[in-house]
Amino acid sequence: MIRELGILIALAVVVAVTALVNTLFLSGQGIRDLLLNACLVALLTVGQTMVVITRNVDLSVGSVLGLSAFVTADTFAVNPVLAIVVGLVVGALCGLLNGVLVGLGRVPSLVVTLGTLSVFRGLDFMWAQGRQINAANLPDGFLALGSGSVLGLPYLVIITVLVLAVAALHLGSYRSGRELYAIGSNPEAAVLVGIPVGRRVFTTFLMSGTVAGLAGVLAVARYGTVDATVGTGLELQVISAVVVGGVAIFGGSGTVVGAALGALLLSTIGSALEVVHIAQFWQQAITGALLIAAIALDRSVALRVAARLRRQSRGVSA
């Protein structure tokens, strides 16, 4: 909770300072844009967080999103409802493959998902054959999903928040979710208390893939243009958001809400830098520096807490 509060404060500071420079930043349109920009990455952080909590990582999410987006857009010509289902199924299948290899095959996730990152992207290219699908090829009703809103809240934001809420509830309040933390915190002990580690890890990859599939469908709705390169390089953004959001890269702690706030913070900083006229060329450098600062801060807080606990438990004062 403290962690989430910290990000919220950082977010508030960024927004406040930017709004001072440019009031449009806090206009209805401005806020809508901030939320919409963060949506896809925030959605992906949901799956990624679950994976990282178990001391694994999924580098293939960008490729899964791309593949699902293209297949979805392509299937629209056949049947719109089918298209959305197909997009989700593609994501789930990709996740399934990762899950089988990591969870059941017991192969390090970094290597597996680095491999499937290429494999899924390759499939995407093969499917697309150099084509691009444009807004004109997609039904307006579907595109409205990406840009429309109800009561001022964009659908995309609503969907993201819903997924987030479900995942937060699962991780926070259901056995199978709590067990993910146990797995990441101490894998050997998790086996000893009878947690089906392989199956749980398998499921997190399946979820990560499915969520990336959903994000692919939504990416089509939001951007209306799809080619085989959609989502390239997204994995590093997602992991950055997860890390900034306070999820320990070696597992065991962190929340999806924190990670999603991390995504919102990073994308808001990106927008803010633009609005306050910081040259485009500085933006990436600043993002990188912030990321490192966030990790370092996290670490120093963790060390201090550990030192305090150690002193407490011993009851020794210097």
């Binding site: 259901y174 709590r178 067990e179 086996v191 020794v316």
Partner: protein, 495 residues
């Protein structure tokens, strides 16, 4: 529930940890599993818990054949286990550690956090301990970790409770409470398996016992047929005296002196000296801080205050390199984690601390390395197939010899040995003792940490007792006896 293990065998590579061992647990009775370090007690327990699958042998639940393919199976069958090494989830709260795998839930399957906390509080109350269920498990003291483990096992209302050295880190009052709780469970029909190196505890709690030696079955039966001395004889398999061939040497000048060494929250104001040819033992309960002192002396950990001197010259703090250069060697307590690179060969492990003298312009001289490893393998009577085999395939005793070889190859003036005979068989143990004794005779100053009192009493010229991070007593060889040391270590009278 009655559990029978029949003729169970299990080996790890070259180590035969269990050889056709049988054991029966009966409802309403507590059964002790006895044996020296490395006898195979923990391995047997892990078979019972579904962690290890035995190479041969049968498991019967109430007479019916069964198989535990995983800890989940054993748990489902009603077996609760407290493992020797704590298995806590540092990131999670204490309450959740207790509940993990068996969270109380509300309707709809949601975890009931309040119930979880209450459950932990109830268990802690029963055990008479004061741990905040909301704090994270990370940073708990060894004793508190052990208590959380006990609460974890008790929470499941198991029909079979297996405890691997649960009392090793506990104070007298805590032990008494635990025994009260276990007694109550037993009276309600639970079967109990109990491991401890404290023989008096065993006689206090248990009705039956099984004794293992070197992985083999030695004896099983009701405890009222046995005396404590008889049990020890069964465990050791020979007269105790033969084990500790400490030669008498005249101690020389002071080699190592430690002055007011302090590491906050761990140990405070530790001052002592070791002279050439002398073996000084640090005794104390598990978690008293002995290993931490040794680590700070060697520089693996940085002390917050105080200094370490070798022949009067101050050693740079926090640098194992500096300590080694000054002539200190350190055989750490955790052989597999700290002492060896298990995947690397015998040769490379032996050479690991001597790389500088084995190299020219930074390039390793392979022949010199091989010669060094061969030389020490012979001198320590190492049993091995090839020097290029990974150390991981050796038996525990032989692994320990490789660690010793690694340090002896540097010809240290001071050798710190932390639990030098933990988990090695009796023969190897005797050899390690002989070696240490010889080294002392050659004028090496030895600082020994051991949790086995007989070893401490048999080997040491002086015994320093550590309690809660402070040196609380010092005994010469003549005045040191079991009762005095235990009294100093626990702060209460022994037995």
């Amino acid at each position: 529930m009655r559990i029978d293990l029949a003729e169970v065998s299990k080996s790890f590579g070259a180590v035969q940890a269990l050889r056709e061992v049988s054991l029966t647990l009966v409802p309403g009775r507590a059964h002790a599993l006895l044996g020296e370090n490395g006898a195979g007690k923990s391995t047997l327990i892990k078979v019972l818990a579904g962690v290890h699958r035995p190479d041969a042998g049968r498991l019967l639940l109430d007479g019916a054949p069964a198989r535990f393919a995983s800890p989940a199976d054993a748990k489902a069958a009603g077996v609760a286990v407290i493992y020797q090494e704590p298995t806590l989830f540092g990131d999670l709260s204490v309450a959740e550690n207790v509940a993990m795998g068996r969270h109380p839930t509300r309707r709809g399957g949601m975890v009931d956090t309040a119930a979880m906390r209450e459950q932990a509080e109830r268990l802690f109350e029963r055990l008479g301990v004061d741990i905040d269920p909301r704090r994270p498990a990370r940073g708990l003291s060894i004793a508190d970790q052990q208590l959380v483990e006990i609460a974890k096992a008790l929470s499941s209302d198991a029909r079979v409770i297996v405890m691997d050295e649960p009392t090793a880190a506990l104070s007298g009052a805590e032990v008494a409470r635990l025994f009260g709780v276990v007694g109550a469970l037993r009276e309600h029909g639970a079967a109990v398996l109990f491991v401890s190196h404290r023989i008096d505890e065993v006689f206090e709690l248990c009705q039956d016992a099984t004794v293992l030696r070197d992985g083999g079955f030695v004896w099983s039966g009701p405890l009222d047929e046995q005396t404590p001395d008889g049990v020890v004889r069964l465990m050791v398999g020979r007269e105790l005296a033969a084990l500790f061939p400490k030669q008498d040497v005249v101690a020389g000048e002071t080699v190592l002196s430690v002055r007011r060494l302090t590491r906050e929250g761990v140990f405070t104001d530790v001052t002592f000296a070791v002279r050439a040819g002398e073996i000084v033992a640090l005794a104390g309960l598990v978690g008293a801080g002995r290993s931490e002192i040794a680590r700070a002396v060697f520089g693996v950990d940085r002390a917050d205050a105080g200094e370490v001197l070798l022949r009067g010259k101050r050693i740079r703090a926090g640098s194992p390199g500096a300590a080694m250069a000054a002539g200190i060697g350190f055989v750490p307590e955790d052989r597999r984690q700290q002492g060896l690179v298990l995947a690397a060969s015998i040769e490379r492990n032996t050479a690991l601390a001597s790389l500088n003298r084995l190299s020219r312009f930074g390039f390793i001289r392979r022949s010199a390395e091989r010669a060094l490893a061969r030389d020490w393998a012979v001198r320590l009577r190492l049993t091995f197939a090839r020097l290029s085999d990974p150390v991981g395939v050796l038996s525990g005793g032989n692994q320990q010899k490789v660690v010793l070889a690694k340090w002896l190859a540097r010809q240290p003036q001071v050798l710190i040995v932390d639990e030098p005979t933990r988990g090695i068989d009796v023969g190897a143990k005797a050899e390690v003792h002989r070696l240490l004794s010889e080294l002392a005779a050659q004028g090496v100053a030895i600082l020994m940490i051991s949790s086995e009192l007989p070893e401490v009493l048999g080997m040491a010229d002086r015994v320093l007792v550590v309690r809660e991070g402070r040196l609380v007593a010092e005994f010469g060889r003549a005045e040191a006896d079991e009762e005095r040391v235990v009294l100093a270590a626990t702060g209460v009278a022994a037995g």
